[in-house]
Symmetry: none
Subunit: 221 residues, 2 copies
Amino acid sequence: MKEKIHVHVADDHKILIEGIIAVINTDKNIKIKGYSLTGQEVIDWFSKKRNTADVLILDISMPIIDGFQVLKYFKNNNIDQKVIILSSYDDLRIIQEVLSLGCKGYISKSEAGEHILNAIKSVSKGDQYFSTDIQSALLKSLSGEIVAKGKIPDKFLIDSLTERELHVLKLITKQYSSIQMAEAMFLSIYTIETYRKSLLKKLNVKNSVGLAMYAFKNKIV
Amino acid sequence: MKEKIHVHVADDHKILIEGIIAVINTDKNIKIKGYSLTGQEVIDWFSKKRNTADVLILDISMPIIDGFQVLKYFKNNNIDQKVIILSSYDDLRIIQEVLSLGCKGYISKSEAGEHILNAIKSVSKGDQYFSTDIQSALLKSLSGEIVAKGKIPDKFLIDSLTERELHVLKLITKQYSSIQMAEAMFLSIYTIETYRKSLLKKLNVKNSVGLAMYAFKNKIV
DNA sequence: ATGGAAATCACTGAAAACAGTGAGTTGAAA
DNA sequence: TTTCAACTCACTGTTTTCAGTGATTTCCAT
């Protein structure tokens, strides 16, 4: 490991930022590249070409522009930023929401500092990281599925698809256009398009190709 | 290569068999396990439990029971026999027919003996082998009329893709838009679109989803 | 009974993909 | 030396997809 991992931290509580910085500084492979106190600052920072970071540690609950909106900003602007969510809540729905927005890591503020370091390293490598209690919560919801550690299984996403969405997804892999699907399913094309949008959002992909790849990887076809 | 490849040869012209045996004997990694002079003999031979061969070299045109029928026999009895067709005809329809019957190699009698050796080695490894003039014939047919039924094996389609097309295809599976590809490859978007069209035509699919599925099935990704 | 998820439909505007045609350059093979 | 395939770019339409927003109905569960 030659190059340091560059990290940006965003939280509206400065004292917490300072704490994180202190923790991170104990690891010489990781370097703080900057911090933000509001969601707007994060967006401003990353919207400047020369401002980058390998990993962004992002608090969900910030005033005005919160973590969700920051994630949406990245998504809408096709910025492939690796993000670790720092949250006080272990709510599964929140987790799912940020997952669908493309975030790759999630740690609870109640966790020890070393988890942050592990999370940063995992995510910077392209892996996912979820703190243990999050994982156990997820595992519980999956009722006994075997999961590789640190990784949220696709099943989680698949399960979130409704019957109709699944049907549309299958037809997409068969190269149906929306019009053709509408005819085949006796629905309005508007409805089909609604499902498409829903699929794109839930599976967190850019376009139909992404949907098809997802379906293929998970043998929905 | 420790174990010899066992080969069975079937042709109604004994003189040709002898020729093939002579050629094969020049390669000490390949051994003749037997030969047949009629289709019936082939079927009889392989229907006996103890009679096997890694590769069967099979002439298409034999009296009464021809090569096609032998292939059908294998297919109907779920015998996964590796077969190289030896034919005098370079007719595409014949090639397609035997391909659909599961044969893995095809060489023309007009080819030099060394091609037989290469074919045997390729097919015994599980690869396909088609002599060069067959391949070019197949490719030519792709540029003109798309052969819908009979289906040319994917292998040929892949080979027909140029470097650039392959590159574009890979980016498509990564959910790049044409604009993004143009930027990534330092090309005009018009050029990218040209490749898209070329891919759609060559791989005979309807849209990008079809391209992605194709790429996935053939492990281009 | 009330709230929520699923399913359905609608409209709009923008972005992207698809289709057809044409054309110039280059490098390698025949 | 000519020919051809690969590569490149351009222009013009049409179709499809994507994004955002909002609305209704049904049915299930708290």
